[in-house]
């Protein structure tokens, strides 16, 4: 594999939207910090397509280009996803001249599907009854994506974020070094949600190489959850990508819907930032962990903001429509998206 460091971005056309991937801000959440424990959030929605998944998507596409697996105007990139990876992959691949087909569970919100269509993706919507040999949700989408792509390797390329080491490398080579630099090497505890395992293993591995005392805390969702991007590892097995470097995890936290949404609301009230549900889960785990230690520098990955979650937040009675609209208007730290 060709190593892609931040130099790749510098070498890229600076007018390109892809130049904006990475180098996201790390902010202190002062209303949650204390004298001895500092709480920082890495705001991954500053990536152009609005989430942490821009990094893995860019790395996976560039790696496929380097391996000459893609042909401009001919190749179709197909990926099973329920959200942010689809948005990032479609935005990035379309920008580079590739068609994209996203295989997505039909129950995913219309907001997300509309963004994907707007970015130019063809959607294949799967229901839970397509294949009796696999589980529900994204597992059905994975099965269909394999079925479509495997017999047609001349046309289709499936990056497969659940197995692709470029996902891990994107964080090992970009997000990890950014956090180390932004905290001037003072980070003591690192928190992130787990879906593919790319973020936690990439950043965790890098941070532990710099300082083996850094604690890495993995967050999974409760069963039957509403926390997009996270998985529960009793409902679904750990992805191959995660299993390769699982030993980097020191501790686990299981986030409930209730506590995560409560934290979304608290972050809005205390910091005036409208975050996504998984950021609430990360915040809940940091607040739980804070009880166990005397001092430290906590860093949590805030994977996306709350702009895609209006219907979810209203449905969960987190905000009224008026409150949501007001929060969206007044929220700080929400840069324009590329779509």
């Amino acid at each position: 594999m060709n190593k892609m460091t931040s130099t790749t971005f510098v070498e890229a056309n600076k007018k390109s939207i892809l130049y904006r991937i990475g180098n996201t801000p790390l902010i202190e959440l002062k209303s949650f910090s204390s004298d001895k424990i500092k709480i920082f959030a890495k705001l991954e929605w500053y990536n152009p397509f609005g989430s942490v998944k821009d990094r893995a998507s860019f790395w996976m596409v560039k790696n496929a280009e380097d391996r000459k697996l893609l042909k401009k105007d001919k190749s179709i990139i197909i990926e099973p996803t329920s959200g942010n990876t689809g948005i990032a992959l479609t935005g990035i691949a379309s920008h580079l001249g590739y068609k994209v087909e996203i295989v997505i569970p039909e129950k995913v919100s219309e907001e997300t599907k509309n963004i994907l269509r707007k970015l130019g993706a063809t959607l294949h919507e799967t229901s839970d009854d397509l294949c009796p040999r696999v589980g529900a949700g994204t597992d059905q989408s994975i099965a269909l994506a394999y079925a479509i792509s495997k017999p047609r390797p001349d046309i289709y390329y499936m990056p497969n974020q659940y197995e692709n080491d470029s996902n891990f490398l994107s964080h090992y080579q970009s997000t990890g070094p950014e956090i180390w630099k932004q905290t001037q090497g003072k980070v003591t505890h690192f928190f992130t949600g787990c879906g593919t395992g790319g973020t936690i293993t990439g950043i965790g591995t890098y941070l532990k190489e710099k300082d083996n005392n850094v604690k890495v805390i993995a967050i999974q969702a409760q069963q039957n959850h509403l926390l997009q991007g996270l998985r529960n590892f009793e409902e679904s097995s750990k992805p191959e990508l995660f299993l390769r470097r699982e030993k980097v995890v020191d501790d686990w936290y299981t986030a409930t819907n209730e506590k995560s949404f409560k934290m979304v609301k608290m972050i809005q009230e205390k910091e005036n930032i409208l975050v996504g549900p998984s950021s609430g889960a990360v915040m809940a785990s940091m607040m739980e962990y804070i009880k166990n230690i005397d001092e430290g520098v906590f860093v949590g990955i805030f994977a996306d903001d709350g702009r895609k979650f209006k219907s979810l937040y209203l449905q969960q009675n987190l905000f009224t429509e008026q409150e949501y609209t007001r929060n969206l208007k007044n929220s700080i730290l929400l840069p324009p998206l590329a779509y």
């Binding site: 009854d129 009796p132 099965a143 079925a147």
Partner: protein, 85 residues
């Protein structure tokens, strides 16, 4: 794969040929075609994936449609499905 083409032997029957495709794609193509049809119309599906015998039959029953017939011709499975709702 041809989709929505008329078969010469049964000119009135809408047919999809999903031979060469693996499950769950035959079920997925069936689902898409059925969704485009109106109640009472009939669809013929030709598949050579052995798993589709169970998967398509099961999907048809679960979704309340009618499996009018399932014929086997060497490796080919020929389903005739009536959209019932």
């Amino acid at each position: 794969m041809s989709s929505g083409s008329n078969d010469n032997s049964k000119p009135d029957l809408k047919t999809i040929d999903v031979r060469g495709l693996y499950c769950p794609e035959p079920v997925f193509r069936t689902k898409i075609e059925i969704e485009k049809m109106i109640k009472g119309e009939t669809l013929r599906i030709v598949s050579d994936d052995p798993d589709s015998e169970e998967d398509i039959s099961r999907w048809v029953n679960r979704n309340g449609h009618e499996l009018v017939s399932l014929n086997k011709n060497n490796a080919d499975l020929e389903f005739t499905i009536k959209k019932a709702k």
